[in-house]
Symmetry: C2
């Protein structure tokens, strides 16, 4: 990791250091994905079967995973992983169920009742990547809030073969409609529907650049589907002082770095000694990692920023807007009020990022690429829509009507005024 002393840098250098790298290859990606979506829209399952034959590790004609396949997956899994998944589900369910909102009802003036209510989004699609490892955690993070919200239709797509862990987690989270197909074609199928895959209203989940681009494209079409959030490579920023354990910090940096060569890893510290200690630990721990090539590549693009004090560290983090923010300082909670624009914050030495990735209860679907400035951590609210209801009594309209008439007049909207005036005339 490259080490820089923050306040020796010019403002433009500081800004460029914290900017995310441009995502490569955008034009050809866009047209390739557009072609796939168009094929799936026009030819449905026939196109999906052809794409399965071309791209899947285990191509299949019947895309939907059968009950027998679920049963077989469950039978093959050991009790320990099943128990671990069940415990994670319990925690995630508890934290997401606690996010439910009662109806907000307020009488803003006599006889004028306003309500804010929530409803589940009717049909949701979940995408779970395949790739180098099965990701049952993604199933849990996407499916549990859908079940709590009460979404009527929940569809899950994942590349073929769907791993045993994914099928077990899906069933444990109440998802029965699983289709073993991945890539942009899976996103297209969920956005527009095919003979076998139901159309959904909103699509959730991470994926490779094709999946991300497909989500972007269908979200731009009103006949397509909404999406959870825009996506970029995963990232972590660690704020640490001289009290931090260098081995812990290095382990946390590496658990981000092993995600992919494009993972972003930033350490911000006011302690040169801690920075040195972390570099030593990185070298030591790297050697023992299965995914050391990926992690090494990611560390090549990563940064150690030496800052003056923890206030400056917070300012750097706020400017970067990290997906994951780990705070290992003498009094981590004391920094909370100074921290902005982070997707999820991990406080103290006993809170590695991996607890939130899997099992503490928080959602691991978080805004990346600087989107944490405006986007939220995924939660129950993303599976719901908020809408308002209002009801005026006759007395309520008598009280409020003249105000509405006066503003409608100022806006030159005579019919808006008249809708009140003719009612008030009846009430006289």
């Amino acid at each position: 990791m490259q080490t820089l002393i923050w306040n020796t840098l010019a403002p433009e250098q500081q800004r460029d250091l914290l900017a995310r790298p441009a995502l490569a290859n955008a034009d050809s990606l866009e047209s390739t994905v557009r072609g796939i979506i168009s094929e799936v829209r026009s030819r449905g399952d026939a196109a999906l079967r052809e794409l399965s034959a071309r791209f899947e590790r285990a191509p299949r004609d019947t895309l939907r995973v059968s009950a027998a396949e679920f049963d077989a997956a469950e039978a093959r899994l050991g009790d320990d992983i099943k128990a671990a998944i069940r415990q994670a589900i319990g925690n995630i369910r508890a934290f997401h169920a606690a996010q439910a909102q009662p109806v907000l009802r307020l009488e803003t003036q006599p006889g004028v009742v306003c309500e804010l209510r929530t409803q589940p989004i009717a049909r949701v699609g979940l995408y779970v990547p395949g790739g180098s490892a099965p990701l049952p955690s993604t199933v849990m993070m996407l499916a549990i809030p859908a079940a709590i919200a009460g979404c009527r239709e929940v569809v899950l797509c994942t590349p073929s073969p769907a791993s045993d862990e994914i099928l077990f987690a899906a069933r444990a989270c109440g998802v029965e409609k699983v289709f073993a197909i991945g890539g942009a074609q899976a996103i297209a199928a969920m956005a527009y529907g095919s003979e076998s895959i139901p159309k959904v209203d909103k699509i959730f989940g991470p994926g490779n650049s094709y999946v991300t681009e497909a989500k972007r494209q269908v979200s731009q079409d009103v006949r397509g589907a909404a999406i959870d959030m825009p996506a970029g490579p995963s990232e972590v920023l660690v704020i640490a002082d001289e009290t931090a354990n260098p081995a812990f910090v290095a382990a946390d940096l590496l658990s981000q770095a092993e995600h992919g060569a494009d993972s972003q890893v930033v350490l911000v510290t006011d302690s040169p000694a801690l920075a040195d200690g972390v570099q030593d630990e990185l070298a030591r721990q790297l050697a023992a990692l299965d995914r050391r090539d990926i992690a090494t590549a990611a560390l090549g693009g990563s940064l150690v920023l030496l800052c003056r004090d923890l206030d400056e560290a917070c300012a750097i983090s706020n400017a970067y807007a990290p997906e994951h923010l780990i705070v290992q300082t003498r009094a981590p909670r004391a920094l909370l009020d100074k921290l902005e624009n982070a997707g999820s914050i991990f406080l103290g030495p006993w809170t590695p990022e991996s607890v939130g990735d899997y099992a503490s209860g928080t959602n691991h679907t978080l805004p990346t690429y600087g989107y944490a400035r405006t986007c939220s951590s995924l939660g129950l609210a993303d599976y719901q829509r908020r809408y308002t209801v209002q009801e005026l009594s006759a007395e309520g309209l008598k009280g409020l009507g003249p105000v509405v008439e006066r503003i409608a007049e100022a806006e030159g909207l005579g019919a808006h005024k008249n809708a009140v005036t003719l009612r008030l005339a009846v009430l006289k």
Copy 2:
């Protein structure tokens, strides 16, 4: 308005009737707007001044509205409109302040604390259209939740000249940075910043097709800005039975129709007599309207759907997903549990849409064009970001760590596991 009997139609006819019309002219619009954004990004205020000279009714060199201009606007306005705006602000503020969420803190298992917190989005931009009438109501709807959320920077753009009502409402809602510039160039300026206009993180507000397209484009660029929601023409659906007052229903349909020739207006009723009565009232009320040409054009594209019963009426509304839904039936609240996909619902004879447009307390910024299936009514939450915090004690990690290790192993992510393992080793 064209009248159709719903259950005599084929399913495809039903679907097509409820689909929104395609928005015209998309390609040339896209490139025109792309050009404007590029000009503003590269030349800043110089480009804005040129565009002001070309497009504004009152071109100006100094874009920011001065304190003296605010004072003069306030001095010119009558006390009655000021009082009306103040009363509306009071109701809107009360309903949006009630939406604030306390920190959610849950110990999901011993020593594992998860929190859901909210923070204001730091910098927001509000767009208030000019056009045929000043819209102080839009100022209130966009600025009040920004103030309650505590957004650090609030910028408002509106075409020049900014009306007295808009300036009065802006100041009354705590907005001091008002710039008299409209169109795609205003959106570009807020998304990227110029010498005089600060860059913001998220842009809110309605506008013409140039504004809407500019918002779409800047929201696709991570260096641009997020936006409130996608937009289309405004629309209302009224569910009425034989107990409804035809004059009230007609007045509500007209207050939607006067917005623009592309406004969508739908009446769904199980009573042919009510449908006839409404048609008669429409003809009568139209004659007296200032904006009757606009309203007549909108009604030309609008529908009366005769249905079998109120259950079918609810199903039609749910399929249409209206921005505004007015229910004038014998027992309107009894339908609430059957109604989905509406932006805002107005119950009963004394609740015309215009009370929500201006003053009841609910927000009038609502999802149009079918987006109500997944998008929410604008509220305090749109000016905030939700993020999670977690903190484990040593005991907490001892309890949860093995679960995390087991799932990390299943996912083949050794560094994720190691971040737990080396901590547990210290705790032994």
